[in-house]
């Protein structure tokens, strides 16, 4: 569904991605792992168009989307939940959710109920300003908001950051369930490699902007040398 081919991305003189290639098939969770600064976030930002690559291509369903403006991605079926969650703190929970569906033709307000069913904690706070939410609730909000865009590809950047393990497990569980039921493709960036590999199908390990390993999640989890070298456990 989503193909990344030989992408090279620079920030000024700094080479962040040095020829990265990977595939994100439908109905699978592909985890991108590696240490801080390995280029994981840059990869997501390049895929969603926040950053333009110097070379290489990103394809969605065979169509080249590399140079599309960011704003057009939602309509193509790509939702990106950025690093730091991306809750708009000054808006209410309900308004944040509404933004999720705003650009989809035929979106209805009642669809927010689906998110409230998935994350009941949000229902109680629907008219409260988003800045009153806890970290876990915010993560639920942004995942819910992304889902309201009815994406076919979901990019998640470090969703577990700063969250308690129980909450992380809950959110990951919901994502896994959605993937299995609806054929959603997920590109999951995580520093917490252990949790990520527990729900992912495939893992791609980045180091200093290059792919050093691509394999099934089980194989990666079993490879002790690799884990110690690049994944921290």
């Amino acid at each position: 569904m989503l193909e990344v081919r030989d992408v090279v991305t620079t920030y000024g003189p700094v080479l962040a991605l040095d020829g990265v290639s990977l595939s994100v098939p439908a109905g699978r969770i592909t985890a991108v792992l590696g240490a801080n600064g390995a280029g994981k976030t840059t990869l997501l930002r390049t895929v969603s168009g926040l950053v333009r690559p110097k070379a290489g291509a990103v394809e969605l369903d065979g169509k080249d989307i590399t140079r599309l403006p960011v704003e057009a991605m939602v309509q193509r079926g790509m939702a990106h939940v950025p690093e730091g969650r991306g809750v708009i703190a000054e808006l209410t929970v309900a308004e944040n959710l509404k933004l999720g569906g705003l650009f989809r033709k035929g979106a209805k307000d009642s669809e927010a109920d689906e998110v409230y069913d998935l994350f009941p904690a949000l229902r109680e706070r629907r008219d409260r300003s988003a800045h009153t939410l806890s970290g876990g609730e915010r993560q639920m909000l942004v995942v819910g908001r992304a889902l309201l865009a009815r994406p076919r590809v979901l990019l998640l950047d470090e969703p577990s950051l700063g969250l308690a393990p129980r909450v992380v497990a809950q959110i990951f569980g919901i994502v896994r369930d959605l993937v299995d039921r609806t054929g959603l493709a997920v590109l999951l960036v995580e520093q917490n490699a252990k949790s990520a590999l527990s729900i992912a199908d495939t893992g791609v390990v980045l180091n200093l902007g290059r792919v050093v390993a691509t394999d099934s999640a089980d194989a990666l989890a079993a490879d002790e040398q690799l884990r110690h070298a690049f994944l921290g456990f």
Binding site: S48, L50, Q75, V87, L91, E95, K98, L99, L102, H131
Partner: protein, 294 residues
């Protein structure tokens, strides 16, 4: 006592007008983090357009009024798209300097096109007689009531736009979370332009209302810029309510200083208020306690 009442009434009327102007500044600041020092000159320019139509070409007041508002909208959009867009990112000081340059250039342009003389601007309602409540005279004219009402109606419409419409939601998203909004499909650039256009419209409204029943000159909005700015800062630059309260405070300050001290010291009075408040509460009286966490 009567003087106090008169000064207070005048203060409130002008306070409302300054509040309207302050709202424009807050609107733009919230959207693009820039103080538009040219706002007053924009409003003055569109007011002069109205003058040209109504006084020189015998058009009805409301035609001039409408033209001023539309011109304000378009001018605001044009300035954002063509000039300000390029300095929206980058050092703060650049944007300040650019809007100052526009301020001076626009005012000078007015002077070239229309001259420096003071010109009378018509009021659509009686601007001379107050009314009595029992024994006390209230120095509020029909024109004053029209001014206050217009601002309140416009404000109501603006708030409704922001609160209850999709466009308003997108405007707010673009203002508060640019990058996230883009990821959600919001055309942030267009929203910023729209924000400036709305501010331009509102500013033009303030300009026409301030002018009505009085005189205009190329610099007639200068005091409003200062007062509107101080009012907005008093409110913390992020709060609409703060801007309104700030506007009223400034309007009353102007009235009392002019009445009890001297008309010439009015601007310095505003400066004094600004400095006192900023030294006590650097974030403004109503500074938002919402830390921008994510």
């Amino acid at each position: 006592m009567q003087q106090f009442l008169n000064l207070t009434t005048t203060g409130i009327t002008f306070g409302v007008l300054y509040a309207a102007f302050a709202l424009c500044l807050v609107l733009i600041f919230r959207a693009t983090r820039i103080i538009n020092f040219a706002q007053g000159a924009q409003a003055a320019f569109t007011t002069y357009l109205a003058y040209e139509l109504v006084v020189e070409r015998d058009q009805p007041y409301w035609v001039g009024f409408l033209v001023a508002l539309v011109a304000g909208f378009l001018l605001g959009a044009f300035i954002e798209r063509v000039v300000v867009r390029r300095v929206e990112t980058g050092p703060e000081i650049n944007a300040v300097i650019v809007t100052l340059g526009l301020f001076v250039a626009l005012e000078a342009l007015i002077g070239i096109l229309f001259g420096q003389d003071f010109l009378g601007f018509p009021a659509p309602f009686d601007a001379s007689s107050g009314f009595a409540v029992g024994d006390t005279q209230i120095a509020q004219t029909a024109n004053d009531r029209y001014r206050i009402l217009s601002v309140l109606v416009a404000l109501g419409l603006l708030v409704a736009l922001f609160r209850f419409t999709d466009v308003g939601l997108r405007l707010r998203a673009a203002a508060f979370g640019q990058e996230v909004a883009r990821l959600l499909g919001v055309r942030v650039g267009r929203m910023l332009t729209l924000g400036w256009a709305l501010a331009g419209l509102f500013g033009s409204l303030a300009g026409v209302l301030i002018a009505g029943g009085g005189f205009i000159s190329p610099g007639f909005m200068q005091t409003s810029v200062i007062f509107g700015f101080v009012a907005a800062v008093l409110g913390g630059l992020d709060s609409f309510v703060g801007a309104i309260v700030g506007g009223l405070v400034l309007g009353l300050t102007q009235s009392y200083v002019a009445g009890y001290v001297d008309g010439d010291l009015v601007n310095m009075g505003a400066l004094a208020v600004l400095l006192v408040v900023l030294l006590a509460k650097p974030g403004g009286l109503f500074s938002s306690s919402v830390a921008r966490k994510v």
